[in-house]
Symmetry: C2
Subunit: 291 residues, 2 copies
């Protein structure tokens, strides 16, 4: 189970082709063929069906393990190197789009005011990428958001030992078109909305909602439209146009949409700060950010 072989296996499975994987990895097709053969010999099982190239059941299982394993390997390397790295006067932040609410923006402003020479780089992307960037040391600190019961921690993808700290919790609102029949309500219950049409987007993970409603595998929260991307503005526009509902922190609402407070179950939009071993000199800085 050489990680090297595991990585080529993942590449082959992703491309569905030995030759394409070879091109990506800078090997010859022959080398890829030999590597896959070596991996299959090691496990004593066929992992890929050929022509067309697709994983066998055993291969599919291995694929589920491979990516997180390789990530943790990179994360371990990054963490060790980071522990021995020089102090920087540069803070690299990775954040999910909704994590940068007013609470954090204010704290970040405070940090910058106190340290005028500090350079801050902020990159926004999806949850998995944020955790991966923090794990691999491409970002010093990550900011992630999600929906949770009050004072419950977020459930984050596992990329090795990392520290999390609560940054803020904020009320959730159901975003609706302004002319929606429910737009006038004072508050809404989630249970009454499981059959409404929802916009599926990474900003509002419906699977998480089903989970919280005690219906993990169920078919609640049907989606008329699926949006891929990290863009809050787009989602608001989709909701305003009547494509479906979504759940957002109250501070993210705009005049484009109507926002009705979510009454029950009691859920919050939670923001957490995420980091591995911090480079020397940034520890107090992180403390300022987490409050």
């Amino acid at each position: 189970m050489d990680p090297h072989l595991l990585a080529t296996f993942v590449a082959v499975a992703r491309h569905g082709s030995f030759s394409a994987a070879a091109t990506e990895l800078g090997y010859t097709q022959s080398a890829i063929s030999q590597q896959i053969a070596a991996l299959e010999a090691d496990l004593g099982l066929p992992l890929l069906r050929r022509r067309p190239v697709e994983p066998t059941p055993a291969g599919a299982r291995l694929l589920e393990h491979a990516a997180p394993l390789l990530l943790r390997l990179r994360a371990a390397r990054a963490d060790v190197l980071r522990a021995a790295a020089r102090p920087r006067h540069r803070l690299r932040l990775a954040a999910t789009p909704l994590s940068t609410g007013p609470v954090l923006a204010r704290r970040l402003a405070g940090v910058r005011a106190r340290r005028p020479r500090l350079e801050v780089a902020l990159h926004t992307c999806g949850l998995d990428q944020v955790t991966a960037m923090v794990a691999e040391g491409e970002a010093d600190v990550g900011l992630v958001d999600g929906i949770a019961a009050p004072s419950d921690p977020l459930r984050l993808p596992d990329a090795g030992p990392m520290t999390t700290a609560r940054v803020s919790e904020e009320d959730l609102a159901v975003a609706l078109p302004v002319d929606h029949p429910l737009a006038g309500r004072a508050a809404l219950r989630l249970a009454g909305l499981v059959d409404a049409r929802w916009v599926r987007s990474p900003l509002c993970p419906l699977a998480r909602l089903r989970d919280l409603m005690g219906d993990p595998a169920g078919d609640g929260f049907p989606t008329g439209l699926e949006h891929t991307g990290d863009d809050v503005h787009t989602v608001l526009a989709l909701v305003a146009a009547g494509h479906g509902l979504t759940l957002l922190p109250a501070s993210a609402l705009t005049p484009l949409v109507a926002g009705v407070p979510l009454a029950a179950p009691r859920l919050v939009h939670r923001v957490e700060l995420l980091h591995g071993t911090l480079p020397p000199g940034t520890a107090d800085l992180v403390k300022d950010l987490s409050g």
Copy 2:
């Protein structure tokens, strides 16, 4: 970061000696020396100080990553092989000692009554070993227990993607010597016991209690005596002899000790069932066990 090198690094660090690690792993000292040199060259950092052999700060960080990484690697291999394995009429259970309460024992009896030809092997050991055994396929199903807020899942060590299911939740009791001044109380609050003397044992993880009391790094729950082992009987004897208090599920109490219900915070002793990909034919069996 070859896992092979990582494994020898762990062995060397554990033994504090190149030669001892060589003996354990079946290599010559020279080979070990070269492997460590290769790992240090790969990372560009010294990982071990020599004479005496002990990890550098960077090496210490790597050690924290290495063990879980190697476990996940073995777990991935086991999971893939398991997916292709033959059905067995043998169920191998691994369980923490307190996980086998009356609820589970009854269900297990039911399963055996319905499947007379089924052989059951049960091994009890600590939490980390149970998860490792399940991950590596040495056990088909694991049973683990812990203290949690009601209907909250347990926090388990991470050994790769595994499925957990709630088996039972039971009230907790504070175990006291029968002649203890508090033994007559109708109920006790945990907050009033943070300064009492406790028996530290794997059966009642005090770190977890501090965590639940919102004092993760604190010095609450002082211990007069530390017990290592998986033995409930011994812990009860220690408590009865006045070495300290402990927290146990009500069903584990014996006449040796007095048990006072825990009133606040509301905590339960929770048992969960843990398994990876199940061998064909055992899926329904697991469903019976989890209820």
